[in-house]
Structures are given as C-alpha cells and as structure tokens.
C-alpha cells in the first residue's frame, strides 16, 4: 500500500488532509514538523498549511528526501521560500471561492482538472516567483501563482486547499498525487 505522511505545520485543515488520504484507503499518519528527516519512511509527503513561516520545523530538509512532496498553502510557500523562489503579501486576500485556470494541461498533479477548477482558498501571502526548475501550473484573478510543479524532482505546490469539502475536485488532486508516489 502507498504510504503518504502529512507533515503538520499547524494549519486548521491539516487533519482534513489526513482524513482525505485515509478515506481514499492510503496508509497515512500525521507527523510533527520537527520529526527528524531520517525517521521518515514514506512514499510521499504532504506539507500542510499553517499560520507562519517561522514555524515550519524541518520542512526544508524534507524536500531533500527524494520522495514526492505536495505542499499545500503555506506548504507550497515553504518550497518557494527555502529554494530560490520568492514569497510576499498578496494584493488581494484569497479567501473561499476561487476559480483557478490550469495553465499546464500535462501537469501530473492538476493537469487533469483543465481548463479550470473551483477551489476553496485561505491565504494572505502568496508565491511571487517560482524557484528554478519549477513551472507555474495554475493561476487566478486573485493570485498569480495558484499552483507550481517541478516534475523532475516531483515537488508540487497548490496555494489552495484540495482537502476541504468545498473544493470541487480536491480528491482528484490527491488521487493524482498518489499516482506520482506509486
């Protein structure tokens, strides 16, 4: 069975990520973000959302474990922050209902949702510039970079929340991530 662990960055929806994976029959568990990287044994990792970049524990090191990583909200911003991208305040807070345009139809994570998908979001900051090796895969009226992927390293990020009930095709995102991990 595929095993995907959820790294808890203290987001209010972290447990829903755990629940979404559990309900899909994936072996999963919640782990603290200060878990030593060498203790992690998984086919993939989800970096949860959370309130602050000052509280991301060992997330930077988890990107080096050579397993696929899906960063959600703050989890995506972590990738831009610790690699060579850029994170900053958005001009327009992204809350609740957002329509995301899929800009890369071949993307393994969200390409299958093209041409657009309705999502639930909750963030003030956003990724301003993707790190090298990444491509922007989704955009919206309220946020330039709604999703990004580095398919060589299997690092993926979404600025919104596939785990909440109001995101229309959230489960498909997790299914796609499972395929990447298998």
């Amino acid at each position: 069975m595929t095993k995907i662990l959820v790294v808890d960055n203290h987001g209010q929806f972290t447990h829903l990520e755990h629940r979404a994976l559990r309900d899909m029959g994936i072996e999963t568990d919640l782990i603290d973000n200060d878990t030593p990287p060498e203790d992690i044994d998984a086919d993939g990792l989800v970096l949860s959302g959370g309130p602050s970049m000052d509280d991301i524990g060992n997330c930077a090191e988890y990107l080096e474990l050579d397993v696929p990583v899906l960063g959600i909200c703050l989890g995506m911003q972590v990738m831009a922050h610790v690699l060579d991208g850029e994170v900053g305040g958005g001009e327009y807070g992204g809350y609740a209902d957002v329509t995301v345009e899929i800009t890369e139809e071949d993307d393994p994570l969200i390409g299958s949702l093209a041409p657009e998908t309705r999502v639930w979001a909750s963030h003030a900051d956003e990724v301003k510039q993707v790190p090298s090796g990444f491509e922007r895969t989704g955009t919206s009226d309220v946020c330039g970079i709604e999703a990004m992927s580095d398919t060589d390293r299997d690092l993926y990020g979404v600025q919104w929340h596939p785990e909440v009930a109001h995101t229309a095709e959230g489960e498909e995102v997790f299914e796609n991530f499972r395929s990447v991990c298998e």
Partner: protein
C-alpha cells in the same frame, strides 16, 4: 467515514474498561457531541454515570424541556437551573475571549459542585476532532477542552468521540437510535447564545437572540442548512408606528458545510428572507433591522464570536 457498529462496540468497551466500577460524570450541553458521548457512556456503565445538564440561560428556545424529555431514560440525569448566576457573571463583559472564559469558569463552578456531590472519579467529555484542532491552533478556545480537570481531581478523563468529525458523530447518533431531533440537530456552540450576541450579554439581548434564532431555524428548515441562526450584532435606527426606535440589529446566518471547517453562505430567496425579517421585527419591538450575512468561511467563521 466511521463504521458505526464497530465504533459503538469499541467505544462502549473502552469506557467500561476505563471506568470499571467507579463513578463518572458528564456535562450534557444539548448538542450532538455530548449527547452521543453520554449515550455511549450510559450504555457502558448505566447509572454509574451522572449526566449533568446546566441551564445557563443561554440555551435555545425550549431546549431545556427537550433535554429532560430526550434523556428521561437516564434516571441519574441532573438538571441545574443556573440562569441568574451566568447572566450576573457576564454583566459588563464585552471581550469575546473573556466572555468564553467567564462562562467556562461559571460552568466549572456549577459542575465542580455536582461532581463533588456525586463523588465522581471519572469525567466523560464530548470533545471531537475539530475542537482539538481549533484549540491547539489558537483560533478559538472551546470550553469542553481543559479547565475542569484543573479544579476537580479526576482519576481519568474519557473522550469517546475524540477522533470523530461532526458528520461522523451524527452517524453514530443515528446508529444509537437517539431521537431524530438529536441526530439531526444543528451544531450549537458550547458557550451557547453568548457567542451570538456581539459585545455584552444582557437579559434583553439574550431574549432577542433566542426568539430570533427560533424564527430562523423554523423558517429555514426546508433549506436543510448545516447551521442556521441569528445574532445580535449592534444597534441601529428604525421607525415603528411613527416612532423612532434605536433598536437591535439582528444578523441572520445560514450555511452549508460538511464538517464545519469550511462553509458556504446559503442562497436564500427574497420571500423567505422577508418573512424572517417580518417575524423578527414584528415579534420583538426592540429590533430595528434584520440583515443577511453572505460571507463564506473563510474569511468569516460560522459563529460571530
């Protein structure tokens, strides 16, 4: 989703195992969570459990009478009439977190007395998963998490539904054969109507919000909302029968949700909204206007405080 048969069997066994021949106590709020926890515990240990229901004066219309009826089968049920003590304690308190703290403290005082009288060794609580997340994350404090154990020296705390989400608790409620009204009941916050009054809670405002919530629940039944209620949010000017009134502003909120973690404001038709407005302003002379809240969660929470 939770497998209810297996869950109930395991929860009952766990409670029996933990409490043994000792005595346990549970605070029954009238909401689904504590009702399910109480029913599971009663199934496990019968009259070794004392369910305590405290009427804080912040309950919904008719709620206390209904609790007496629904849980009449538990012969050990204790109903505490504490309305005046709660409202007196809330006098002059305006900060939302302080209001929660005052209610929590008063609640502990009431409960401590009952726990000592019954010589309870164990505390059963209806804490569910989201309560723990929101408390840990600092978004809101929930009065059923923490507090009590600091004052009463219980031998242990049993939380039989701690890993369940709201929708799963309701499934369990149905499987337990609790009356429909409990299984389908809308979520109601621990601090009760106090969080539906922005600012100081007074007897007058509590009365207005209780009547208004009742109207909203009745009128919106056909929309099958996940949660629907009214809140007193401030004061505004109106004109009634040629007289200027400076009356309460009542906000109506109705949302759809799976688990309370995210929510969408419901689209209601104009006629329904007007009927709600007319009933609330017509039945409460001190209400000047009624507004409808169109904000999703996020950015708003479902409740006002």
């Amino acid at each position: 989703m939770v497998e209810t048969g297996k869950f109930i069997e395991e929860a009952v066994a766990e409670i029996r195992d933990e409490v043994g021949d000792e005595h346990a106590i549970i605070a029954l709020s009238g909401g689904v969570d504590s009702s399910v926890a109480a029913a599971l515990a009663y199934k496990a240990i019968g009259d070794q459990l004392t369910p305590v229901y405290v009427d804080t004066g912040l309950m919904r219309k008719g709620e206390t009478a209904q609790i007496r009826e629904t849980f009449a089968y538990m012969s050990s049920l204790e109903v505490v009439e504490a309305e005046d003590r709660f409202l007196d304690a809330l006098s002059g308190v305006t900060d939302p977190e302080e209001k929660r703290a005052v209610i929590g403290e008063q609640f502990i005082r009431e409960f401590e007395r009952e726990a000592k009288e019954t010589d309870a060794d164990y505390l059963v609580q209806g804490t569910i998963y989201p309560d723990r997340i929101e408390s840990e994350g600092g978004i809101k404090s929930h009065h059923n998490v923490g507090g009590l154990p600091d004052v009463v020296d219980f031998e242990g705390i049993v939380e039989p539904v701690r890993d369940l989400y709201k929708d799963e608790v309701r499934d369990v409620a149905r499987a337990l054969g609790l009356e429909d009204i409990v299984a389908e009941r809308m979520p109601f916050p621990g601090p009760g109507l106090a969080v539906r009054v922005v600012g100081e809670v007074t007897r007058e405002k509590a009365q207005v919000v209780r009547e208004a919530c009742h109207v909203v629940e009745e009128e919106l039944e056909e929309y099958d909302p996940w949660q629907a209620f009214a809140a007193v949010v401030g004061k505004g000017t109106g004109v009634k029968g040629d007289n200027r009134v400076h009356g309460w502003i009542v906000a109506v909120r109705s949302v759809e949700s799976r688990d309370g973690m995210t929510a969408r404001a419901q689209e209601l038709d104009w006629e329904t909204l007007q009927r709600i407005q007319s009933r609330i302003t017509g039945q409460n002379e001190n209400v000047a206007r009624v507004v409808y809240d169109v904000t999703h969660k996020p950015p708003a929470t479902i409740e006002y405080e």
